[in-house]
């Protein structure tokens, strides 16, 4: 793949919250255009930290972040990149802060300099795309957990990003809402990285699954998601198999 297709290029990242225990330890990672990557790892292994470093919300103490072929160091470099990289937070309550759904979805487009009319238009279209048109005047803090998640996704998609970073998008969702999100994401023609513990979801939406552990992502150990059909008792209920 040519250099132009390299969207995220992380080299030698190290980061820690406390001196004795590094979260990321000389980590390197690349995302090319069209990559659909799943990221798994134990709790506290630095998955969310990695996302926040990519978008300049946290500063690594060593290593470089290169976004769209340009090294990002200062807040203003990241500010440009954030227009093209959408991040979905783990907790939708962190993301939804406007009074109504429509205003929250329009928040990003307004920040990008769209006029109120354009922003409203973009927000309406995005909501329609996610089958949320009826939600536009709902009060954000009164939505249910699943609704909040879908609306948060709308707020990110409304900015028309080229890359999506989703942090546990299916966490705490019922099957129906999970299917809905899965279907929406499958149709997107974007590059993305999804953090999740849900292999079922990752196998449907991603091409490769990386594991992050001991502060590193190793691409040699990339897992390829694939599915087998098998039958057993209570098989309809979501479950896991040992190895």
């Amino acid at each position: 793949m040519g250099h132009n297709n390299l969207i995220i290029n992380l080299t030698g990242l190290s980061f820690s919250y406390s001196a004795d225990k590094p979260v990321l330890d000389n980590l390197s990672f690349h995302l090319h255009r069209g990559d659909r990557i799943g990221l798994v790892g134990p709790n506290g292994s630095g998955k969310t930290t990695l996302f926040h470093i990519i978008l300049g919300l946290l500063k690594p103490y060593s290593g470089t972040v290169e976004l769209f072929g340009r090294q990002a160091k200062e807040e203003k470099d990241f500010r440009e990149a954030r227009k093209k990289i959408g991040l979905l937070f783990q907790d939708p309550d962190d993301q939804l802060f406007s009074p109504t759904v429509l205003e929250d979805v329009a928040f990003g487009p307004l920040n990008l300099g769209k006029s109120p009319e354009e922003a409203r238009d973009i927000a309406m279209k995005t909501l329609a795309r996610l089958d949320l048109s009826g939600f536009k005047d709902r009060i954000t803090y009164k939505l249910s957990g699943g609704e909040k998640r879908l609306v948060s996704l709308a707020t990110v998609l409304a900015m028309d990003p080229e890359v999506l970073l989703l942090d546990e998008p299916t966490n705490g969702l019922d099957e129906e809402t999970e299917d809905k999100i899965t279907n929406i994401l499958k149709k997107l023609e974007l590059s993305y990285i999804f953090i999740s513990h849900n292999f079922d979801f990752l196998s449907k939406t991603t091409d490769r699954i990386y594991t992050i552990s001991k502060g590193k992502i190793s691409s040699d150990e990339a897992m390829a998601p694939h599915s087998h059909i098998h039958i057993h008792k209570s098989g309809r209920i979501p479950h896991k198999h040992k190895s």
Partner: protein
């Protein structure tokens, strides 16, 4: 949590432009707060009562809100008449009530009720978020406007967090008593809420930056001034100037 009990309604006052209501309420409160003559204060009280009547608010709920403030004022009535120096009016045992003290207490009572009623009639008849946007459009400092909107949005989240924590305490057998354990547990609860709120504020700010937030808050809502709004504003300004005339110009 905070219920906007009076925010919805179809009275004339409800339909006024929030910006007009904010200007009127602020000017009215300032004039009333600095007035000292009953000649100005009593008409002010009458005006705010009239506004509440115009807004067609449920009397009982308005009365209940007044009760909260007047509970505090009641204490003033126990203290002020007996501590303020002046002409003696009557005495209860060793305590001497002065005319000036009683006048001051009545002044404060009339003032606070007039201001409170006007706030109820003008501000609480507007949804909080419209107030916030109106503040923005009136060029209030951004920080105040944001603080106002965010406080309202996240007080619900903090309240939920508070409920979660107290429930978690209760299911582990916690019942408040008058002892060190109770005080300590409550101190932990408050501390935890503070820390969590701070963390949440950080995360929200990050989420906003990810969506291009640059310390400027744009709004979808565009208010438009109608003829009634302008007429009403002029009328309110005239009435407020009238109060100022009663306070400072007319000599008795």
């Amino acid at each position: 949590m905070i219920e906007e009990q009076f925010a919805t309604g179809n009275s004339f006052i409800h339909s006024l432009d929030p910006r007009v209501k904010i200007i009127a309420a602020v000017l009215f409160s300032v004039i009333v707060a600095v007035s000292s003559r009953f000649l100005a204060l009593l008409p002010a009280l009458a005006i705010s009562l009239f506004l509440v009547a115009m807004a067609k608010l449920p009397i009982k709920k308005v009365f209940y809100r007044l009760l909260l403030v007047n509970g505090l004022i009641l204490f003033l009535w126990f203290v002020l008449p007996f501590t303020y120096k002046g002409q003696e009016l009557f005495a209860i045992g060793p305590f001497i009530a002065t005319k000036e003290g009683i006048l001051l207490a009545s002044q404060i009572t009339v003032k606070s009720n007039a201001i409170l009623l006007s706030m109820i009639a003008l501000l609480s008849t507007t949804p909080i978020f419209s107030l916030g946007h109106a503040m923005g459009q009136l060029h209030f400092p951004d920080k105040i406007t944001h603080l106002f909107l965010f406080t309202f949005r996240y007080i619900h989240v903090i309240y939920k967090e508070y409920r979660r924590l107290t429930n978690a305490m209760r299911v582990r057998g916690f019942a408040p008593r008058t002892n060190m354990h109770t005080y300590k547990s409550y101190a932990y609860l408050v501390g935890m809420l503070l820390v969590k709120s701070y963390d949440r504020a950080e995360r929200i700010h990050k989420a906003m930056r990810c969506r291009g937030f640059n310390n400027k808050y744009y709004s979808l809502t565009q208010f438009s001034l109608k003829t009634e709004d302008i007429l009403c504003l002029l009328l309110m300004l005239a009435v407020i100037s009238g109060l100022a005339v009663l306070q400072w110009v007319i000599t008795t």
